[in-house]
Symmetry: C2
Subunit: 640 residues, 2 copies
């Protein structure tokens, strides 16, 4: 199609392994298409200096340019979504392709799909997904919006209403300005009977004028904290007798006849598929953002020198344990997020054939783990750059701000953790853990010899065995599962402590997934990936020993060996970091950071930023400053 | 002077204890002065919607109004600084009073003080403090800026130069736009001899025109990440043969004669006093910000309901362990930060009589602990509000963004932690720990019976003994000190692991300081403070058990009792939270959050924000949207 820019490794085997061949191919095509397009490379302003409205407008116009590229170059929906991320924080137009169409595919009848999906594909209509309400987030059963079937002769319609303040739809991405259609989750009421949540396609704006439709009120939600998601028009929506055709109820798994006859498929989870989908996509998406942040930090800490001068030069910051022990595990986690994320994406793309419970549990565990670690790792990338990491032009603040809400959207961490806890209780009671691969630690817990046997990791090297590592993480998960089961039996509120179990559960899942990938990797990359997986696992072990306090499972010698093994793992990985960074192959355009420019040092980059600051020329404020410095004269006799 | 607004508790005994009588008095006066002043209460715009330049300008003008109030009402410097915080994020004008004048006081000769301090007090000159360079932060010895004495007949001047890119002064608050004078840290060179860092007062802008002085180049630094410190004009500065009178070298502890004769006082740490001062002030200042964030979160989580519906109403979010176990310890830590912070402030105000090593170590430990916990606690306040906590109008994002850089400024956490580690090594070797009260754990470490004796906390209640708690935290610090000493002896890079020791060191310091305050508190508030201190200590214990893995100091039963004691402590504190919140007495103006308005619910507040969003009226972008939705027609034959 087009030749990729030379700096992007499109054939490097390790790059193929990290990104996956398909995604890597898409990446190369996208970068080739945008890296010489002035709409992206030369927007004519410093985005950090803009007001929110100005920034939103800039990104929306860039999004429309990407849409033109999609049509022109025949990009797939996923390729367009990839492009909105690669091109920067272009959020609003991605919703139609990332969320809306996926839900149409998952929940519409064949006839509905045939009519609606082409319209959404070509952006003739712009869709969004309206589930959350002001008063109801994770507890979807609490949703108040009603969809009442009107069977009258002149009707055959469904009437949508918002009965209260707390039932306003809220946080609906792309609704505030862009959307013409919304998938609305509402309680279906037929003949006075509440049939629970269903999904309805509601046209919210006129296609020709973009005016609101009758019975629909929409406000854009306002600014988010830390300037994040500024380029998303989250919206608030209320309905007052908004009428839609009966045919607009999504009918992939349910049906509503002309006379109000209602039929539902066995699987009643259909209304919540969207959350499974989005959580499942987050692992890979967040892994990429973490990798970017760590790469930026590696560039800076490889340049910056501080303390311990020898031969006239201070030591490079990246050479300190305090930086290596933070950035290297973060890089290893980013890779794990991407690899397991790709597996989940494949399952989601093939949703109809999936065991929903297993997939649900995997996406829940992954969502918790990826968001908690991802936010921390992006933050650590900033912190390891010291004070200068706080400049907007490093890109590190925006990466944190953007990931930060991920711990609360699509299910808050502690609320979701309870789903892991509940699964533990259920399968423990039913002795059914073998049906869920991630719950292997329950089988261990049934084996009292395995739970009381003192660990015998006789040598430092033994800690680097993938088998020993997975066994150890399994033991930790089993200890925490035991605590959880005891707490539940004692009637305690486990909502806080269960988080630790959920993280241990996911540590084990991610560790095993990464180890499996290493085993399948080509020989030439094997040593690099083994070093990375070793850092991953030993960090997960060494930083989570609290569960072993009060047990006699570990000796002081075990721990001393573990610490040495971890130190060795970091040291070995030091020699592999560059290969991984190279395989990621982020372009300067993507990193968008003064710390990562080939033509200048970070210091020169920071000076350039200062020279362009709008406040450097202070003539606009001089009268005020001179007034401030003479204020004292006015009061001098009295007080000063 | 003026009557305080009724909502501020100015005589409540617990309020006096939390704030200190003097600060509380200042607070009440400030709130009375600004709470009816439209410059503050009705700025005529939504600050979140502004560009950085607009926001900076707004806050600067509010700062000038505060300055007029200072002169008019006879506020002290500290009262003005307090007012800049209470009035919002008005940062730039505070530098002169919070940092510049304090350094003049600490480091000038009597004659210099008599001349300069009055000018700075009345803001006839505007000062800033210029230490950090692009290439040199924590390692102040690496500073490159030179100050060369020119003894020639026509000279008797000092010539300041920036010899390299990395020697540009950087991060200098209030320098970018406002300052007329800077305290510049530079290497004094006399007769070719480098005498190390000294402090020089350099006029950087003309007092009448505000133009730059000859030989001085200044740029405003540009935007910071996450929109934070937008209202501070951090500056970059380079010197080219900038000449200042010899008399402008700060001469409180050193002197330079007309002929170049140099004399220094014994105490050679004089150039770094500023960092001790600022670190010392951070504990109280950050404690107040954390308290604000927690109070906002308590208001929202007391309103919000989620899951477990009974009698038609879901359970209040604050009733879940997952929220209590995060917010209550955060509130307890905020109080500890304020109380120990006040003790440190008193020592700093009396700096000349202080043992610098002890104060230095206390401020270092406090700075690490307060910033690490403070940032996390403010973040937790946001997270415990779920998704809605991400709206800018809640105020929670800005509080995080503002505290976030505190972990890297005035000494990065890991770099500073090494100072604790170094003190441990030094006093262990010298057997001199008794000279530093915070190092009591080293004495414990010398007593092998105390280090090997199994803990015998026989009952749940025993864990609530302040003595047992302090002993436990001392034991933990001793275990980590032992590990550090072993690591140092083995020649390991301790820069990562020493952080855990530093936190354990500070946990102990803060726990003891809080317990001492409880003992001195009036009877009526004693139960509340005891409950708070109990939550503080037991949380510090229960969340930091990793150091006990691989030891036999704790049994499973000890831990089970500990967990129950912690649970009880949270439960008892539940009944005391309102008293503490009331004693803080933050006004709605200060909290500045849609979650904390007496006249409306959080949901109504969020709807009001949406109704005012600039993007709700989308006419400005409709042509682009309509174009986007018809783009497909252009490409339809080819691809779609």
């Amino acid at each position: 199609m087009t030749t990729p820019t030379p700096s992007v490794p499109c054939t490097n085997p390790l790059a193929k392994l990290l990104w996956g061949e398909e995604r890597l191919q898409r990446r190369c095509e996208i970068l080739a298409a945008i890296s010489t397009n002035p709409v992206f490379t030369d927007p004519g302003c410093n985005p950090h200096s803009l007001s929110r409205k100005e920034l939103w407008t800039l990104r929306l116009k860039q999004g429309v340019e990407l849409l033109a590229l999609k049509f022109k170059l025949g990009w797939s929906n996923q390729q367009f979504v990839d492009a909105t991320k690669i091109a920067g924080d272009i959020l609003s137009l991605g919703v139609n392709y990332r969320i809306f169409i996926r839900n149409l595919e998952a929940q519409m009848s064949a006839a509905q799909k045939a009519y609606w999906i082409p319209r959404a594909e070509r952006f003739e209509i712009a869709g969004c997904y309206a589930q959350t309400e002001l008063g109801h987030g994770s507890n979807v059963r609490g949703i108040e919006t009603t969809a009442t079937f009107d069977p009258s002769a002149e009707g055959d319609e469904i009437v949508i209403n918002s009965p209260s303040v707390s039932s306003h739809k809220y946080w609906i991405g792309a609704l505030g300005v862009v959307a013409t259609h919304a998938l609305v989750i509402a309680r279906l009421i037929v003949k006075g009977q509440d049939l629970g949540n269903h999904v309805f396609l509601v046209q919210v704006r006129n296609l020709d004028t973009h005016d609101l439709m009758p019975g629909v009120q929409i406000y854009e939600q306002g600014e988010k904290g830390m300037g994040t998601f500024a380029t998303m028009d989250n919206g608030v929506m209320a309905f007052t007798n908004c009428r839609i055709p009966r045919a607009n109820m999504l009918a992939g798994m349910v049906s509503l006849g002309r006379d109000g006859t209602y039929r539902a498929a066995k699987n009643t989870k259909h209304a919540y598929t969207s959350m499974v989908i989005i959580r499942g996509l987050m692992s890979e998406e967040i892994g990429i953002e973490v990798a970017k942040a760590v790469v930026i930090a590696l560039k800076y800490t490889g340049f910056r020198r501080q303390f311990n001068a020898q031969d006239g030069q201070e030591k490079r910051v990246i050479e300190y344990a305090s930086v290596q022990n933070r950035l290297f595990p973060a890089l290893a986690r980013a890779v794990a997020m991407m690899l397991l994320g790709r597996e989940m994406r494949a399952r989601i793309d093939n949703l109809v054939n999936e065991s929903l419970e297993d997939l649900h549990l995997q996406t829940v565990g992954a969502k918790i783990w990826v968001t908690e670690h991802g936010v921390r790792d992006v933050e650590v990338a900033r912190l390891s750059c010291g004070g200068h990491g706080n400049m907007a032009a490093t890109g590190l603040g925006a990466l944190y701000a953007q990931l930060s809400p991920s711990r609360t959207y699509e299910g808050e961490t502690y609320v979701l953790s309870q789903q892991i806890g509940n699964a533990v209780v259920k399968h423990w009671k039913n002795q059914s853990e073998s049906s869920i691969s991630a719950l292997s630690y329950l089988a261990r817990l049934r084996d009292s010899t395995k739970m009381s046997r003192r660990l015998q990791v006789v040598a430092v090297d033994a800690w680097s065995s993938p088998h020993v590592q997975a066994e150890f993480l399994e033991l930790r998960a089993a200890l925490l599962a035991k605590r959880h089961l005891d707490d539940v039996a004692a009637g305690m509120d486990t909502s806080y402590d269960v988080f630790e179990l959920a993280m241990a559960h996911a540590d084990l899942t991610y560790c095993r997934a990464l180890q499996a990938q290493v085993e399948q990797s080509p020989n030439e990359d094997r040593p690099t990936l083994e070093a990375l997986a070793n850092v991953f696992a030993l960090t997960a072990i060494v930083e989570n020993l609290a569960a072993f306090a009060g047990t006699e499972l570990l000796s002081a010698e075990d721990l001393a060996n573990l610490r040495l093994a971890h130190k060795d793992a970091i040291s070995v990985f030091t020699r592999n970091v560059d290969r991984v960074v190279e395989a990621f192959g982020f372009t300067e355009y993507e990193l968008n950071s003064v710390f990562a420019r080939s033509g200048q040092t970070p210091y020169d980059g920071l000076l350039e930023v200062a020279k362009q600051s709008e406040l450097t020329d202070n003539h606009f404020i001089r009268p005020t400053l001179l007034e401030a410095r003479s204020l004292w004269k006015k009061y001098s006799r009295a007080k000063i």
